[in-house]
Symmetry: C2
Subunit: 408 residues, 2 copies
């Protein structure tokens, strides 16, 4: 008998029929003798509908009030789920974040969980109840309703699993696990049985949007056993996200190929090569509320250097404008940009102990005539920026080069 | 400067545009220096949509969970209203019933308010905020979310006005006040400037559905000054609901003509005239969850009597079946019924001191050839059951007979 937290995303509870299916699934787990805590998201589309109402009232709605309205989405789902469980013959009780209570800071619309009071939940579990807790929400110390931001239900589930020392936190979603890359690009992409937290973080931040990144950090920090599963299939073990040591010795060097289509590249040419220029260039970009992804500065010569970075494609035009002003001010040689680029990354903890991964990657791309425009590396990831038109080709080539289509 | 509670019904907040209008109206009151507490209902249709979702899950949903879902309707409106007030340059803060807190008993779906903690509201008012409190809801002593049942937002508003000793509780609705009768039946119907709580109770229970009856009882008990106003018109004083002593000496004898179309009549004939028969007849009706309205038992002769009562027309067939079984068991002479009847009532505190009202009423009806099937009277009301086809005629005739079309 185990204590399991099960999180169901918006598509898994999108209709009352799907909610009934979730209840049936929970009933099967319960019948095996497990204690179950269920954390649902809002029915898909509901959060957008609610925020749409707010935007009809105000272009810039008050964050405190936005949380009051947004939190109702999950509140509806918890009650419907509890009712559906009653129909399955289960005892079940629902709680909002404020009721449990999930104590957060007061950063409305993107609050952080500080503490979870497990007393009420433990009492209900002991009495045989399935406990249904609204994801995405909590309350601050003054009782104000808060939300955790988009994808926050994953974080709620992991935080509950950590607070209650659950044996496993299962994230049910519309895919059946984490893949070596997007199967729509590479049909041979293979579901991974395990992936480490660090790899998952790199995969998620690079565009494999299976799990909310904060929840993965949280799970890693509190050593919560996290599993991604499909809510539409009854079979399958999904993908288990583990701490590195849990992986077998025979781990693959590369776990997956991630990519991001929305990357735009900007370069400021011939700026003086002296301390402080990175801040002079990126300060105005940050002031314009533009997030920067990759940053590259190469060795200078003749006292000047070129400085490049990438931004989300939607921010490209604004970023270019800001950069032109900076170039004038810094007396730079000029500015260049390209919004027809993309980023492809190889991710794997194995590369720490296996040199030569980078050259294997560059060689594979070069053999197909794909020019590499920028390179950035971390401990467990190598990213390249290339022309957008080569994206699918590059992902397929790298997937094959690292043998990812083969079973472990 | 006064403290005013303003309640806005579902049609008044049915769209974001109407919510903006409510905010503008509140801003005008605030500009006059008043302290304002606003109590909105859910956007019209929303509560039905939510309960519809619950019914898709379960034919008989758990009341505790039903309240969790139903309470979200008002939670959405309070946040939207607060945002709309911010757009008008007001300070405003929203609270759910549980946050304020509105303490209720644990009778889910029809809880009763026990106490309201006014500390948070008073602090916000002192700081210049408009305080927006969700109607229809509260929380029990264990923090479970409760709702007060249909029309409960009126009760929330009155209870807040009582707890905070407000100068006035204004109920904004889609009519501009209480009328002498339904203007759709009698075009000459006149808006009343004042009506007493007792008259209002009789009018409301008889089918003039302007105010929820429990809120009127509550207002009467706690001497809350209650006013019904239109939320779609900027002019007008509405109708003030007063304790009797406030009315001028020149009060009209009859304040209004109420009617109820959904009345069905049943009679059990020739039952033994002995103690306990009322219970023997009505016990099984109550057990079948059928509400009884009028009850008439006339003097018996030859040791037997006839016993009549009315029920809502929707319950007629079931009630008739139950009554037939009772008749067999009691060895009664038979059973009769008619579901083509209606009830018309004259209401007015003045009739206490003016004898002859009943005969004037019967005379007016008789002159039009309208046969009276049943009569029931209270201190301030006379009701008759007549054939349904005469309803409009009877209402017009009585409205004219008591001179209601004339201004006070």
């Amino acid at each position: 008998m185990a204590l399991i937290v099960q999180k169901f995303g918006g598509t898994s509870v999108a209709t009352t029929d799907r909610i009934k299916n979730v209840a049936k699934r929970v009933a099967r787990w319960k019948a095996q003798g497990h204690d179950i805590i269920v954390v649902p998201s809002a029915m898909s589309g509901e959060t957008n509908r609610l925020i749409g109402l707010a935007r009809e009232i105000s272009a810039n709605p008050d964050p405190r009030e936005l949380d009051v309205i947004a939190s109702t989405g999950e509140q509806v789902t918890i009650a419907l789920l509890a009712m559906a469980m009653h129909e399955e013959g289960l005892q079940a009780k629902s709680y909002t974040g404020a009721q449990v209570r999930v104590l957060t800071d007061s950063t409305f619309t993107k609050a952080r969980i500080l503490q979870i009071d497990d007393e009420r939940i433990r009492r209900d579990l002991a009495e045989g109840h399935v406990v249904v807790v609204a994801g995405f929400q909590g309350a601050d110390e003054n009782g104000n309703i808060t939300t955790l931001g988009r994808g926050g239900s994953d974080t709620s589930a992991v935080a509950l699993a950590a607070a209650l020392k659950a044996d496993e936190c299962q994230i049910y979603t519309d895919v059946d696990g984490v893949y070596t890359t997007d199967p729509r690009v590479v049909p041979e992409a293979r579901k991974l049985d395990t992936i480490t937290f660090e790899e998952m973080l790199e995969m998620a931040s690079l565009g494999s949007k299976v799990l909310q990144i904060r929840s993965v950090e949280f799970a890693g920090k509190y050593k919560v056993k996290l599993r991604v599963l499909s809510s539409f299939e009854d079979e399958g073990e999904g993908t288990l996200i583990t701490v590195e040591e849990d992986k077998t010795m025979e781990q693959p060097i590369i776990s997956g190929i991630a990519f991001n289509r929305d990357e735009a590249k900007l370069t400021i040419l011939g700026v003086p090569d002296r301390p402080g220029i990175a801040y002079q260039i990126l300060g105005p970009i940050a002031d314009a509320n533009i997030d920067v992804d990759m940053i590259i500065q190469n060795v200078g010569h003749d006292g000047s250097t070129d400085f490049s970075f990438t931004v989300n494609r939607a921010d490209y035009n604004r970023a270019l404008e800001v950069l032109k002003e900076t170039a004038t001010r810094m007396n730079a040689r000029g500015v260049a940009g390209d919004n027809k680029t993309c980023k492809v990354s190889a991710v794997g903890v194995g590369m720490r102990s296996h040199p030569g991964i980078a050259s294997k990657m560059f060689n594979a791309l070069g053999a197909e005539g794909i020019n590499i425009q920028m390179i950035s590396t971390s401990e467990i990831k190598i990213s390249v920026v290339i022309e957008e038109k080569y994206l699918e080709l590059a992902v397929r080539v790298l997937h094959k080069a690292f043998g990812l289509e083969k079973a472990d």
